[in-house]
């Protein structure tokens, strides 16, 4: 169904521009990884706290509020550097199972993060039981690391 759109990206002048340059694509991949580190840091600092480790002297709500802007910056950076990779590799991505795993889990992880995880982590102290916090943190790690990051790396390794 989406194949014509992927084909169009594949044949676009942007894809041509990227593939004709020696540096653009590799640097885009490299900067994508730097934003990944930023995003992962902002995710993990709160998830580790939700699990009951890490910054235990600090309230979950404060860790959540402090890490939020960097989570947004990291995510926007990932999208901005991810799209050129998709355009350049459109047909390869289209036929990669890992790409589609990533694309299905990504919206789930994103919605989960801005709804359930955000509400639970910004609740006042004592209103959410530690057990619930632990589950919310664990699900977040599983979605982002297991469902998004791992398949992303596998796109390039198995196609």
């Amino acid at each position: 169904m989406l194949q014509p759109y992927f084909q169009a990206m594949n044949d676009s002048s942007i894809a041509k521009f990227i593939s004709e340059s020696l540096w653009v694509y590799p640097l885009d991949q490299a900067i994508h990884l730097v934003f990944l580190a930023l995003f992962a840091g902002a995710i993990l600092i709160l998830d580790i706290r939700l699990l009951g480790f890490g910054m235990r002297e600090q309230s979950v709500a404060k860790v959540a509020r402090d890490s939020w802007p960097w989570l947004v910056v990291g995510f926007l950076g990932l999208v901005a550097t991810g799209i050129p990779q998709l355009i350049q590799n459109a047909m390869r991505e289209y036929y990669s199972e890992f790409f589609w795993i990533k694309m299905y889990v990504l919206p789930v992880a994103l919605i989960y993060t801005v709804t359930v995880r955000r509400m639970v982590s910004q609740a006042e102290d004592g209103r959410v039981s530690p057990m619930v916090q632990k589950v919310v943190g664990l699900v977040s790690i599983l979605l982002w690391i297991g469902g998004v990051a791992v398949p992303s790396r596998l796109i390039g390794l198995f196609t």
Partner: protein, 171 residues
């Protein structure tokens, strides 16, 4: 210059000829597993280093005193570093000559040494009067350490990702 590097080259060559190294190099799945594990370990290590450096710059995690953040993130940063180092060593062990002749690999190694010196310098120079700025925006020295940390680790990640692109290889 190349003669000075001969002992290093000899070590890399010896490893490359070992049975286990060849097995790792030729096993597509085990190799890939370590590639994936290396990136995930990097997320934990670099991610939490970045969180600490943002606090040092006074632009992130400001509601937590620096000493508390440092103390509580440290074990996780060390776990991330250990996992990155182990998975990275396995990858080099599996294909030593590919890394030996790669400029980006040596760039990454050098940048990591400089980043480690920066971390030690921070610990022994800028951290001693942390009581004066624990709840505030840190002073210039600590900020400098934070910005150097961010820049150096970013370049470590970039040069690591560029290793597969061996534009400068001439052998």
């Amino acid at each position: 210059m190349s003669e000075l590097l001969m002992p290093i080259r000899a070590v890399f060559e010896a490893v490359a000829n070992s049975e286990n190294s060849i097995a790792l190099r030729e096993s597509q799945y085990v190799w890939s597993l370590f590639e994936v594990a290396h990136v995930i370990s990097m997320c934990l290590f670099a991610g939490l280093i970045i969180m600490m450096d943002l606090r040092l710059l006074g632009i992130g995690n400001m509601q937590t005193p620096f000493s508390q953040l440092q103390k509580r993130l440290f074990p996780w940063q060390m776990l991330g570093m250990a996992l990155s180092a182990i998975t990275g060593l396995v990858l080099v062990y599996g294909d030593p000559m590919r890394f030996y002749s790669n400029i980006f690999f040596w760039m990454k190694m050098s940048l990591m040494v400089i980043a480690a010196v920066n971390a030690l310098a921070f610990h022994y120079i800028a951290y001693f009067d942390v009581d004066n700025w624990d709840n505030k925006v840190p002073p210039f020295g600590a900020k400098l350490s934070g910005v150097l940390g961010l820049g150096l680790w970013a370049f470590v990640i970039v040069s690591g990702r560029l290793i597969p692109y061996n534009w400068f290889q001439n052998q």
